[in-house]
């Protein structure tokens, strides 16, 4: 039986993103079948397709030095398909993760918002850069841009999943973290640690029962944010100390926005703001830039 499973297993484990895609897709499928406020299937198709097309377009325009192009061409060679080099160099995994995150978080009452959001997300990755890294997490950029540009069309529903789905998803995301042994898995845990500490601290200060911070922690949006946005190795500081500072700053800012200013989308605004500081942190605390697939 090992012989049958191994190719799939090896494929899944060659890159942390394969597992991430598997987790996000499973969650999305589950919601599509069992949830009242799941995204429309049209939305999913349009978002994913637009993100992939945008990725192809931008790769074609800026043929970047994708180091994982070889890994892909290996599979293409096996299939004896000949494709132009720039297309081989196009990576489809990141836009897939981005668009799945968008499908899960972004809500809008106009269909055209979704391809536009996907385009903005992927575009930001290629256009807003510093040295070898993009500044913003693409999905987070699209969400914040959507909220700012179309305040009458776009919203985020942070309280949308029940506790059961939350638990299942939390376990799956944690499993991905462990299995993929991604070097930057620490980012999600750092953020969740700081965020949890702030919620707990608030409850202790207010004299609230512990059920309250626990309940606040059980947010589906928080999980996607922690495991698939802030943990994006391309938009986090390279140095461990930098990452600790980055996680703490994001958590503190989000906490202030959420509880002091009553901003319901606090996490996304906070990450948007702190991402700008990453090039400065990197210039002070130097370390090797992360490369996908080298985990």
């Amino acid at each position: 039986m090992g012989a049958v499973i191994r190719p799939v297993g090896t494929f899944l484990f060659t890159d942390a993103r394969h597992l991430q895609i598997a987790t996000l897709s499973s969650l999305l499928l589950f919601l599509l079948f069992f949830h009242d406020f799941a995204p429309d299937i049209k939305v999913v198709f349009m978002t994913v397709l637009s993100a992939l097309i945008a990725q192809i377009f931008f790769c074609w325009v800026f043929i970047f030095n994708h180091r994982d192009a070889e890994a892909q061409s290996f599979y293409l060679k096996k299939l004896r398909v000949s494709v132009p080099l720039w297309l081989i160099k196009t990576d489809f995994r990141s836009p897939f993760i981005t668009s799945l995150s968008l499908c899960l978080l972004l809500k809008a009452n106009a269909l055209w918002v979704f391809p536009l959001a996907a385009l903005a997300a992927i575009g930001s990755k290629f256009l807003i850069r510093h040295k070898d890294k993009h500044i913003f997490n693409p999905a987070n950029f699209a969400i914040v841009a959507g909220l700012i540009v179309f305040p009458d069309l776009v919203w985020v529903s942070p309280g949308q999943w029940g506790a059961d789905i939350w638990l299942g998803f939390a376990l799956a995301a944690a499993a991905v973290l462990v299995l993929s042994t991604a070097r930057r898995g620490d980012m999600a845990l750092l953020f969740l640690g700081f965020w949890g500490a702030l919620l707990l601290g608030r409850a202790l200060w207010l004299g609230d029962p512990l059920e309250i911070p626990l309940h606040q922690f059980q947010s589906g949006a928080l999980l996607i944010f922690a495991f698939f946005m802030i943990s994006d190795p391309k938009t986090t500081p390279d140095h461990l100390l930098g990452r600790v500072m980055f996680a703490a700053a994001t958590a503190l800012l989000a906490f202030t926005l959420q509880f002091e200013f009553q901003v319901r989308e606090a996490l996304f605004y906070a990450l948007f703001a702190t991402c700008v500081s990453v090039p400065f942190i990197d210039s002070v605390l130097k370390a090797k830039t992360y490369q996908w697939g080298n985990a």
């Binding site: 009242d36 009458d152 069309l153």
Partner: protein, 466 residues
């Protein structure tokens, strides 16, 4: 001692409103008390402006009535208004889950289809209040003190929860166990306390026999419903019906899951006589399956039209009274109603000759919760979602006239299967026993061996005595 029931109050009774005649056809009354211990709240919200109206079906001694509601800012006298309970009942009836009736047409010839409906409109209430004296010594500041309508109102701020707790107790308000901790949490969150009790002289003067709803208007970014005091002394799960009026769209909680109430199901005919029981049983089953952790969406609709209307749309001036300050006085002509997706086209036009308000969206949420399932206050947000939703149940009357064409044979052959499907649907929704349902269906005009009515007169009588 006044029995303090908390925000949002505990002891609300919900009675269902009389069934609404629809398009001239009166069906039946769902006049049972639907939900016990339910509170009914209307929230109007746009930008930072909030108007909260707490409806009141308090049945006890008015001298015992008191409420304590945490509010984000100090409320001046002009920010409090006595609302007309009729408007709230109207909004309630308009947004309540509804039963729609269709008549199968003669399978041999198309006959006019009629629809009727009624609403399971629940009503509700509130209670509680305060006084004044050694306040300062206990660190309690009486920020405002005034009388509006039949209510004596105090706006309190406090430094310490024990002082506030002690003071309220001195003044005769019986706070539930554990209230002090919750008060402390609200004090630290810089909340003030809106405390109201009945002024008996004013109440007698008013000539009313019931307590009218209180509306409070304030401007603050906080958009939430403080429920924690209310869960302290509740015995078992309690009900809250929250109706919101917004300019943008649907309101949803950001820290609890929203679930749509099952809708559009075909159910047996006998339910018309016990629609209240049906809805009650169904709601309880749904709430229990969600472990009382969900907020149920019962209605989400653009106020400009309704289809079918459980009651006439609430006129714009009434919505303004409930806090929809953005609605202009000049009424606009209502657009033609659009048919709902999946709904058969209607033969009878239902254009309501009522001037319709523009830019208001009604959301009706129903939650049944306990202190364990809803540990935190309900945080709300206004979304841009303008998709319409309604809790709607369908009865289809089989054709009972004479029919003896080939189509009629086919039609009658399909009926037992359809009845069985309806029975199963009802059993699934309510948890009622399928055998009981089948019996009631047999007695209620849906026998499983239904046959077309046959004219047994001799052919010459049929020919000449039509």
């Amino acid at each position: 001692m006044k029995v303090l029931s908390s925000f949002l109050f505990v002891m609300m009774l919900m009675t269902s409103a009389p069934a609404q005649a629809f398009c001239g056809f009166y069906v039946a009354k769902a006049d049972a008390d639907l939900f016990n211990e339910a509170s009914k709240v209307v929230l109007a919200r746009h930008e930072d402006r909030t108007v909260i109206t707490m409806a009141n079906d308090y049945k006890g001694e008015v001298s015992e009535f008191a409420i304590v509601v945490p509010v984000p800012t100090i409320i001046k006298k002009s920010q409090v208004n006595i609302a007309d309970s009729k408007i709230i009942d109207h909004l309630d009836a308009y947004s309540a889950p509804r039963l729609v009736e269709y008549y199968d047409s003669d399978p041999c010839q198309m006959v006019m289809r009629r629809e009727m409906m009624m609403s399971a409109a629940p009503m509700a209430v509130m209670e509680d209040a305060a006084g004044a004296s050694s306040a300062k010594a206990l660190g309690v500041t009486i920020e405002e003190s005034y009388t509006v309508g039949e209510y004596d109102i105090l706006i309190l701020s406090a430094e310490q929860s024990d002082g506030l707790f002690q003071w309220l107790n001195q003044e005769g308000y019986k706070l539930p166990d554990g209230a002090e901790k919750v008060l402390r949490s609200y004090i630290k969150q810089e909340m003030k306390f809106f405390v109201a009790k009945v002024n008996l002289d004013e109440f007698d003067k008013s000539g009313y026999t019931f307590l009218r709803p209180i509306s409070v208007a304030y401007e603050h970014e906080k958009f939430m419903l403080p429920i924690r005091l209310g869960t302290l002394n509740a015995k078992g799960p309690q009900d809250l019906i929250l109706m919101t009026i917004t300019k943008k769209g649907r309101v949803e909680p950001t820290n609890y899951r929203t679930v749509k109430i099952p809708t559009g199901e075909d159910i047996p005919l006998f339910v018309a006589d016990e629609f209240g029981d049906f809805y009650k049983a169904m709601f309880e089953k749904q709430a229990r399956e969600e472990d009382y952790k969900a907020v149920f969406l019962e209605y989400a609709w653009d106020m400009a039209w309704c289809d079918p209307c459980a009651a006439d749309p609430v006129p714009p001036e009434d919505l303004r009274k409930l806090g929809a300050w953005w609605i202009e006085d000049t009424p606009e002509i209502q657009p033609l109603p659009r048919p709902m997706p999946g709904q058969p086209p209607r033969v009878m036009p239902q254009i309501m000759p009522v001037p319709a308000p523009v830019n208001s969206f009604i959301t009706r949420m129903h939650m049944r919760y306990t202190g364990e399932s809803f540990p935190e206050d309900i945080m709300l947000q206004v979304t841009d979602d303008r998709e319409n939703f309604q809790g709607r149940y369908v009865m289809r009357h089989p054709f009972t006239g004479e029919a003896k064409c080939e189509a009629a044979t086919d039609y009658f052959e399909t009926l037992p299967e359809r009845f069985e499907r309806e029975a199963k649907t009802l059993a699934n929704l309510t948890g009622w026993k399928i055998a009981d349902i089948r019996t009631k269906m047999r007695d209620g005009g849906q026998p499983f061996d239904i046959q077309p009515k046959v004219d047994e007169r001799p052919w010459w009588e049929q020919m000449w005595n039509e």
